[in-house]
Subunit: 432 residues, 4 copies
């Protein structure tokens, strides 16, 4: 029976194989996800904030090529010297970039070439992971973890971006089969109380986290209560029926201006024949009646805040959310490989908070600011999170489009307050 | 030996076959042209004025389906009821349309479906043409001719639109092989005099013409002279070297404003490393050194007018152009099926005007206005030309991207004075 | 009794005095016009195309300072060296300019300083005119005439610009008293026929004309008929009632797009409480019921063309208009000093064209192009007219805001087809 | 000697007189400030965020008319019924408003009318204050205090708005005399340490405060240090010289985008002849050499944050700032009636924080969010602060344009991160 007798300077073969397998699993999931859409869809860019599938596939590959392969071996030729310009997203320190709004015009490289680019980089990455000695493995771990987390983020974006793009097609195509729903009604909201006081939040150093999740630090919280589950489509429809979109008193000034400019009258993707008709919504599973028991998604921070005001409540602060989530029940719908599900109704869990991880991201009342003591990393990867710390709001939890591995209590997602194309919903909070 | 004994009410079989063959030839050319580009290119729309290849292919098909098949048999089902909304270009009387600027977002229908749509309509068109009786054939002729002329226009647009789209790709891809050039220098310009006087211009009723080419009517012309050939790239480079783009005195006010807003310093697609380097230009044949002997293309009316001012000459009026063209030598490069050529240098033809048909369209000094007595046709096809008779300038001749059959002396092409993405050049004129 | 015995090299004193008086009369009229409005109004600029009263007053002064005083004596100090930048309108050859859209932000120089600027320049101009010898007088005449014609143009603009500016004030102020109207109905339209043939149009060399009115040249016209008077408000209201603004078939494509973008449903300044209410219109005389007998004003070329299409007629070509105007009756309402009147109903004049000079400018079917043989003057004044010869339409006649002296048969006014803030109306024409 | 024997239900005469005097003092200061500028300046609006002087004067008057006079006596006629539409700023619950961007087009009402409007309302307000009984006085106090604080805010805006407007005038006029500067250099920065821990911040209930300054609440702070004074012009010039505006690593992403879009290369109003020339700056006192010892003003949050990053420090959080300010030395330059001063250099105060109140507002690292427990007031005045709690950053302290009475430790000023036209500067902080 052969033994794995690794020399002292190499990690055990199994360990190396595991790293390679993890890499392969995440990378393969991206391509599997993309392949659920025809090549024509791969080209679509429906707004500046969203990217084509093809671009997503190439950009994540460029990330590994640039920050791992080239960083280690700058003299080795890259797959295509033009790709640095085409597929750099926002790393100013790396160099000039193709304008973000014009990614949809990149018919070349074609899909086949991008798939070949992935294979080329994957082959080299696997070889590296499988041959690295112990020191190298340790040195690689942070950027490898970051690259895979980055790839997972783009899996989520791939889903939300293509959903947006297809929603602009007047034929409202059904892109994916599936999307089964839960049965029955949502349990009533239960208010779960928390003591507050001086608490600790942020990454505790175990497992992977983005830099913006730390440093762990103290915060003072007054006693508060959180709703046991997210706000549902049914509840949001009540808000609409009660004139929530027409009552300026419920809205932040910027939100009201946006609502007026863009004629918001319901969450993104909702539609109905006329004011008396029932609501349906466009999704990758086609246009379907809304599920009143499932959490509302595709609302902006402004709509979330207006709903909370209407409900006589407020949005949770992120520290409140994080503390409460430690006592939360297990996950809702999250992304498993390339298998997308629709947001699911909460299960009854009296006296406990549930549905905090998965289904929908929850807008918090907290602006996206650096934690006390935060310093961005040196070098280009320092641009990953820190430079976006203005004019955005924090969302917590995770959605049906968030890869399972990507969900954790300390995760700080962030989007501008007007963003609606993510699976973004809300949970109510109130002072105790 | 079998005779073709058509009954009196049917055109001879050969005649019917010829109509079907003409239809098939034009339609096949469009698809052959499109197939020289990968599917990814079919999606591209780089500006509102330009359309994706796929949209071009579907729209021309919709034209036949709507104005021939549905007009004859309104009760018969269409290929897809959604296509009326998606592929109507600008026929207000037909109904609402997908916004022009968003044609590039139509990943669905995919390429395969559009090709099937073409086959579906072609099958019915051919069947109709082959079975029509004499009266039907006569009744069909005008709209059939219009539909084929329309399809040919879109073949030219397909070429100019994809050239523009690919020019926005930082990799400046070489899309087509070929594009051979003429040898040697252009002959010197010869000034060919014309007497003017009371002349007749416009369609004389023979062969096909668009409605805007008539009615034939009288116009008074003073004696004038036309240059024997188009202005060349070499001459235009002299204009640039002489500061033509920096001397406001040469420019119309709107042209100067446009030049400043968009930083024009050379024809569209021209580029050079630095001010001392030689000029090259992007084309579907790649980036190549300009051919100093070939006619300049991709200049706006404003640039054409500024050049003429610099040259101490002027642009010809369209009536002058049309009169002079009757004595012109034969064609230059035009589109033959799917075989695109580059604009070619003029041949020496002392004392005669040459190069008037093909190579490049020539901007005239004439605004696009209705001829005396012009009335647009009743019904939607009346929208074809008449409603565009404001704020555009007339171009005459034809370009390397114009199908051979589409070139004639009375043809009035028209574009806004700032348009540059057609193969548009100029020829000098002066008062005698 | 003293005799005016001028030396041979000087024009007679009376002649010099007449020149000075003419200058003074035009200049004084501008200021008198401005003084009918409070200082606060002098600041207003409601769109890029319009200028504040104060700017108009300063710019016309700058014109004389620059093209007369400085041209003669470049070494003499100007009133304020900053004014060249502030008050140059569009003379590229003179130098940089303050951006047109920001003229309303020039609180400094204040009104008092601008009035002093006028006095300063006027004093020098009068001194020059009164002391010039015969040669100087002859040399000065063209630029003096141009300067006064220019000043008169700005008197008209002053009126139309302030009317537009005040129309943006929600209180819709009544700026001027007066504006009396004619009594009774408009006479029915009579169609007056003209033979056409080979005609001559353009400036014949007598009296002042802008350069764009020449050279006089031949044109061929088919027989045509002109309506005996302008289209009235009452007729235009019928067009509206008949759905003219909602029937795309009547409109040029650019016009329809503009109508949709800007929600046109009536001429500029028209308003009514609801669809059943009678129309009223804002003017400098306040908001008043429209006079059905008076000519419609403040319509764009697009609206004029749509009306003509609806009426089964067309707009006249400018050569037709000019020929017909030679047989026209005398003037309508024009500007007399600072005394503005409202457009007046036509008087009955069976078998003759009337109302061609004054009341409203009439859109023609002719794009603004150079006449055969036209060459702009050398130097900056050559920018006066020639460089605007693209994308504009010719209007003929004159309006209630046009100074009496400024009205003549060969005058070619021009505006973009979407312009509505002038007193622009229309007269119908048709083929005989 | 007569005694003031007020009946029990009335406040003593002296108290009533004091209220009226306070009202009069604030109101008179606004007009005195405005009168330092000519009427032409009163019209200027140079950007949507800024308002004309005349509008400021009318709007603050409308505030008292609406929220005091009409609230008490709705049946009494207002000065002009149109003013509600014209001079409501952003109170959605009050009704429709004139678009903010078009305030500069309101030539009517003219200046004289606005001054009469002020007198009309002031007369009624004074009469009310002087005649109110004890209960009325108590009931009026909150809205009176708010109205005067509001008027003071507009005094500051009047200054910063007119400065911006005049800065767009190419002649860069000197609007005010004065603006004397301090002598000598700024003292070196001293780092003053604070313990942090669980602190209380927010309004403690004494004196006037805006609703957004409460409720008072606990916050946890880590030990920190604040710079003893604001960053100076001299220090900011070093940042520029060191390439601060060209090093993307120092900037937030939104800030970098803004810097690129708007070509920022120095604080607003700074200018120099060329890269080697010394800096000067435009102010109401004219264009003057920058004072290296005075605090830098007119920087955005983005520039402040970039400077802090460059300096190896950070911006203070607002809770840190507020705690530290309790130990601060007395005021710097603030607005005293209509007497504006320039920001002054700090005085040496070793071991203490100084210059916290006056001279310049200091950007904090804190987004403008509601304090725990905050609820906006019911009714329209609830729109005063609460609805702006998104996408803005908190500034603390006060500037040379802030009325003396308006400066306090708990004051939360807020502006979007890109705003530069306030006297906004910064102070450095760091973790202890």
């Amino acid at each position: 029976m052969p033994l794995d007798i690794s020399p002292p300077h190499r990690p055990p073969k199994a360990e190396r194989a595991a790293a390679a397998a993890a890499y392969r699993r995440v990378r393969d999931a991206s391509l599997a996800l993309a392949r659920r859409f025809p090549i024509e869809d791969w080209m679509l860019q429906s707004m500046e904030e969203a990217s084509p599938i093809k671009w997503n596939l190439a950009h994540t590959t460029w990330f590994f090529e640039t920050f791992v392969l080239r960083a280690r071996a700058p003299q080795e030729p890259v797959f295509d010297p033009a790709f640095g310009y085409l597929f750099n997203s926002y790393y100013e320190q790396i160099g000039d970039r193709h304008p973000r709004a014009r990614r949809g015009l990149l018919s070349r490289p074609d899909a086949q070439t991008v798939v070949a680019y992935r294979a080329h980089v994957d082959e080299r990455m696997i070889a590296l992971l499988e041959s690295a000695d112990r020191d190298e493995t340790a040195a690689l771990a942070p950027i490898l973890d970051l690259g895979l987390a980055h790839e997972e983020q783009h899996q989520e974006l791939l889903i939300t971006d293509i959903q947006h793009a297809l929603s602009t097609n007047p034929t409202l195509p059904t892109a994916l089969s599936g999307g089964e729903r839960g049965l029955g009604a949502a349990p009533p909201i239960d208010w779960v109380g928390f003591d507050g006081g001086l608490v600790e939040i942020g990454w505790d150093g175990r497992g992977f986290a983005f830099d913006n999740e730390g440093p762990r630090h103290k915060a003072h919280l007054e006693p508060f209560a959180l709703a046991s589950r997210s706000v549902t489509n049914g509840e949001f429809a009540e808000f609409i029926d009660d004139g929530g979109y027409d009552d300026c008193r419920l809205w932040l000034a910027d939100g009201w201006a946006r609502r007026c400019d863009e004629n918001w009258s319901a969450p993104l993707y909702w539609r109905r024949e006329d004011d008396a008709a029932p609501w349906s919504a466009f999704s990758l599973f086609g246009v379907r009646a809304i599920d009143p028991a499932a959490p509302v998604a595709h609302v902006s921070f402004y709509e979330a805040a207006a709903f909370a005001e209407w409900a006589g409540a407020r949005l949770p602060r992120e520290a409140e959310w994080e503390c409460a989530s430690r006592e939360a029940d297990a996950h809702g719908a999250v992304l498993d490989g390339a298998a997308l599900r629709a947001p699911q109704p909460a299960l009854a869990a009296p006296g406990r908070v549930s549905q905090m991880f998965g289904d929908v991201w929850e807008w918090t009342a907290s602006a996206y600011s650096p934690y006390p003591g935060f310093r961005a990393a040196a070098g280009p990867v320092g641009e990953y999170n820190g430079k976006f710390m203005s004019s955005q709001m924090v969302l917590r939890g995770g959605s049906c489009a968030t890869p399972r591995n990507h969900v954790r209590a300390t995760y700080r997602n962030f989007f501008p307050p007007e963003a609606r194309w993510q699976f973004s919903g809300l949970r109510l909070a109130r002072d105790a």
